[in-house]
Point group: C2
Chain length 470, copies 2
């Protein structure tokens, strides 16, 4: 089987294998169950390393293109029963989130950066540095609160953004979702009520629902949660917590304004609830921002962040800042349920923070995202799409075509191989919504531009098909 | 402040800093609150890298010797209120587990290998290899079931030990405790009843109790759980699961015999319960062993293991094998509560498994542990200690002095700077027990030998003190 790999191409070899196998199945009309050549044979035939073929098969299995068969290698998988899987389902849908689309689609609605935006030299350097110099980092458990060297860097970072904390008020986690899980298990019990923003992060809704917690929904406005709506909820309910993104809210891209922040803190005091402020895009901060944890809050605000969206999703390093009493409970649960976080990953992140590499990387990232954000906003304006609010930074836009025709949008996206994150993914009940989350890091791709144009004004279906060559 | 660091010494620099600071506090009679020189200053004064000082302070804070003070560096901590902390409290006690004792005690009761047993070249190589060749490994999320390249290696390992599984029946986790947490949350609800072995792993008891699960205790005998006792329990209760260590049981070191295994599987079928078989020491297997998951079990047995005890505790890589239906539920919860495991760590472990390094390392480890086991058994026999059962492998012995005098044992251990894991840590209710868990990897140390001798026959207290120079 000749995969036609081109070593001079810009496309990584693994991606080429994935595409070639997908094409082989599609063009050859291979039926489910058809056996693939062995990894060893494919590697030999195409002068590839076996690890590249393994990696490609990994992706193909995750994408549902191939299936592994015990003792007899890989076969063509059953095709998905519906083309709904062409809609990008994001981290919000679990399984589909970690795969490229089966046909190499553009992940326009994706919750993270494209692989092509990553810079591996700095992180490789830190990884080698830790492996060379830090025996404990290679072998030992991390202390319950997390590696001190990392917590010291986090303390500096938090101090820089005016969040008052101390080393014993910082706990490391396996990313922000792990932090949320520890908080939910520690602070809430089944039957408790909490307030969430809608639209919002689907995985958080499901975490809370899994724990048996009741969700009260407060609409997200341009400047944060809708205060009159929240006040109305508080007249009839006694929520224990409010979960919020202050900066570059997922999915709307909006940020909290000072007045709303102050009113939220007043309400948290008078109505006696905690605020869980998740700030995973916060390192993309462009200028002065309003964070609840940076205002006087008397331990009412718990701050959660991570390095998954900026530095690496592979290392699983997140953290939170809370009162020492809450930290003690969380650390105990963290130990109980997983013994601790990865000392190695924490040492790598601490190295990148300490040597200034992370700061410089985030600066470059911010600049690049801001350019893409401006360009995307311009295209959407030209094509008369409606934008919920102009974000002051981050990677998300919340937008919809001027003339909303959901089935046409869906058809267009499918034809253009664009995976979308439809609004329904960001509602607790999965209700339909015309809005889409757009990750501007993917929005300069020709397929995205074609979609924006196709859904723009005064273009008939035939024009679209002509423009996009379909 | 001159720490008197000796770069030619065999003792690692960080350990020397820890000892020097501890001595400085003890000999100088420094009172709690006394401020330490800054990390920068200490590093300058002693020609040390700041990272070494940070690492040492990390340990000192974890040990409760130093405390960090917001904005003003480090101070001498309040001393512990009781000398009970001189008793080693193991992973079983959470906080104390990840630290060396405050005075550099010998961790005779420890649940893992000494740092001096670790070999860093192989793992460093794998870390560099992944960072050099695997961009996705550095940056991307791992698929919900875990990296395919790792699961393929796990499939091979499981097949070698006769456990029938397939790639879609294997799920990776952040170590075995994380696997247990996912299982408990998926399979059990508050009020459910399970059977645990006693003595057993304290962290598991607490995980179950945290979830509101009721524990039925079945005594661990030489050949596994006491079958008549289990049958008696089953006459009055309907447990959902039995949690068991088949090989090198923690803490007794005993292994399951074939007859008990077969009876357990019969009971699991007739009384309709699942068996969670944790096998984290299983790679230390010496010869043919009996594992429940290797016998026909009709999806009644869920197999859990990890690389924390053999390869590295820092990477947090564990896994389990179960039916595809259970795996699907676990994978969904794993995604919900932490998005996934570390792709980087999984790629490192996959590399070490694929290139044969892990197999060779475990062979060396097994040989070394077997020698230590034999030597320790000989010393204990000479000193007339009682051994619960002669283990066929692994790192644990369950033993007690011939003449049980708990307070004398405790006093001796304190004088000799030996941290013990007393039997109470391995009882669900923390009831007193004369038995001690002994990790043979630490048992050749002079302090351990002195303790064994001191608690041997026909030696008066004055002899002990003379022998040990106290």
């Amino acid at each position: 089987m000749d995969l036609g790999i081109d070593r001079q191409a810009l496309v990584p070899v693994v991606q080429q294998i994935v595409s070639a196998v997908t094409e082989w199945i599609r063009k050859g009309g291979m039926t489910p169950g058809t056996r693939l050549p062995s990894i060893r044979q494919l590697a030999l035939d195409n002068l590839l390393s076996q690890s590249n073929v393994v990696e490609a098969f990994d992706r193909l299995v995750a994408q549902g293109v191939l299936a592994s068969k015990q003792g007899s290698g890989f076969v063509v998988a059953q095709p998905p029963t519906s083309h709904e899987n062409h809609w990008y389902e994001g981290a919000e849908q679990g399984w589909a989130a970690f795969t490229d689309g089966p046909l190499g689609e553009l992940k326009l609605g994706c919750g993270w950066l494209p692989d092509t935006w990553r810079e591996s030299d700095d992180i490789s350097y830190a990884v080698r540095e830790v492996s060379r110099t830090d025996t404990q980092g290679l072998f030992s458990y991390s202390p319950p609160l997390g590696l001190l060297a990392l917590r010291e860097q986090l303390f500096k970072r938090l101090t820089r953004i005016k969040i008052a904390t101390s080393l014993d008020r910082i706990l490391t986690t396996n990313g922000a979702s792990h932090a949320q899980d520890l908080l939910i298990r520690t602070l809430l019990k089944a039957g408790d009520t909490v307030v969430v923003e809608t639209p919002g992060y689907g995985n958080l809704y499901r975490q809370l629902a899994f724990h048996g917690v009741m969700l009260l929904q407060v609409p997200r406005t341009h400047g944060g949660p809708d205060i009159p709506a929240l006040e109305a909820l508080l007249r009839n309910h006694r929520p224990k917590c409010l979960f919020i993104n202050s900066l570059y809210h997922n999915p709307t891209g909006t940020s909290l304004c000072q007045g709303v922040a102050e009113r939220l803190l007043e309400l948290a005091h008078s109505e006696d609830f905690l605020i869980i402020e998740e700030d995973i895009f916060g390192d993309l901060q462009h200028a002065n921002c309003t964070r609840l944890a940076a205002l006087p809050h008397d331990d009412r605000v718990i701050y959660v962040s991570s390095f998954s969206k900026t530095l690496s999703s592979a290392l699983r390093v997140g953290y939170l800042s809370a009162s020492t009493a809450v930290i003690a409970q969380l650390a105990s649960l963290k130990t109980l349920t997983g013994i601790g976080t990865s000392r190695f990953a924490e040492a790598v992140v601490a190295t990148l923070l300490a040597n200034g590499t992370y700061r410089k990387w985030v600066q470059r990232l911010r600049k690049r995202l801001n350019t893409q954000m401006a360009d995307t906003l311009q295209v959407l304006e030209d094509e008369e799409w409606q934008v919920f609010a102009v974000p002051s930074g981050g990677m998300f836009l919340w937008a919809r075509p001027g003339a909303t025709d959901h089935s046409r949008l869906q058809a267009c996206a499918r034809r253009l191989s664009v995976l979308l994150s439809p609004g329904a993914l960001f509602n607790p009940g999965g209700e339909h919504s015309d809005w889409l989350r757009i990750n501007v890091a993917y929005a300069a791709d020709q397929r995205a531009l074609a979609l924006f144009r196709a859904m723009g004004p005064a273009r008939s279906t035939s024009t679209i098909l002509k423009t996009t060559g379909m």
